[in-house]
Symmetry: C2
Subunit: 213 residues, 2 copies
Amino acid sequence: MNRSEIESSLRWRYATKLFDPQKKISAAHWETLSNALVLAPSSYGLQPWKFWVVQDNSVRELLSREAFDNQKQVVDCSHFIVFSMKLDFNVGDVERHINRMAEVRKSSTESLARYRDFIAAGVQRAVAGKYIIPWMSRQIYIPLGQFLTVAALLKIDACPMEGNARRFNEILGLKEKGYWGLCVCAAGYRIETDIYATAPKVRFEKNEVIAFL
Amino acid sequence: MNRSEIESSLRWRYATKLFDPQKKISAAHWETLSNALVLAPSSYGLQPWKFWVVQDNSVRELLSREAFDNQKQVVDCSHFIVFSMKLDFNVGDVERHINRMAEVRKSSTESLARYRDFIAAGVQRAVAGKYIIPWMSRQIYIPLGQFLTVAALLKIDACPMEGNARRFNEILGLKEKGYWGLCVCAAGYRIETDIYATAPKVRFEKNEVIAFL
């Protein structure tokens, strides 16, 4: 793929403040965006997550009131996605992954037993050591990064937000569903008058963020 | 950008097990990959991170011995990158970001005072509430996601690993430099005999990971 096209897409993207409520992401583009979520890499391929697309306008209104400064993006964007991790992640989830692996790769679960035991031991250590939640909560930012990159390539605007996680989760009842949202992303199309659209991107110098050892 | 090309790139990528030690990423491709790191989004644009590219072979050998199962990727890949967060992240880092914003956007720091105070208050709350480290440690997975996506688009292979973080940090002396590595990524080119290269990708069904509300 063309390098300059990739780089110009990454420079083109910005945390969109104003979305055009009239412009919706097409079914074809959503197909690619949602596949970017499904295909995102994760530790051991465990996919300890679920993505919630909030379509109900009244729910979006409720969420918007909890977002900082009544962020209009929540209501005006085309697709509003909540990135959540699975709570109570445990060896049962490893089993589920291994079963899926056997199904997709047409192999027996017996042949995957050693691999399953290895991953299960890691997950059990993380549960016992109480670092399973921080571990899984970091993972969810991989699909966020992939989603934002693919959106930019498709010239779809996006605005990731962390906002008021606790209230967002309460409104959506995610905890009762066994999940916990850590970040959200509004996606759609900018209004060209958004003054932030053309503001120069602020990044530290490359030699300040990349070092060679 | 072409949707099918994006999707086929995402399906083409896999956690590469065998890298060809003879094949190096070109300077031009590294330019795009490193720009993907620099341009990665972060909360408030704070970029609470640093990326370390380990070139020294003897250091890579040391790291390899600490990686699970002596992962050969560490030594054989073209570029080995450590994704680290800045430790002791505080209001001084907010100042630095605001100063950079004033520089890039040719505005006065005075005009950014309210914005600075808002972000600084958030960072201070996170420091006081002791959730600054988890917050910043999640952020570092955004550039990881962006890096893996861009690498796939460039047909560059990659293998993200979390491995033995503590020993990796010790060997590289990152803590003394004020940083803490959370994940690493080997990048380069696969050996075509890597049996995992052609194994079907294992993902849950889309309707199991994406839900509509």
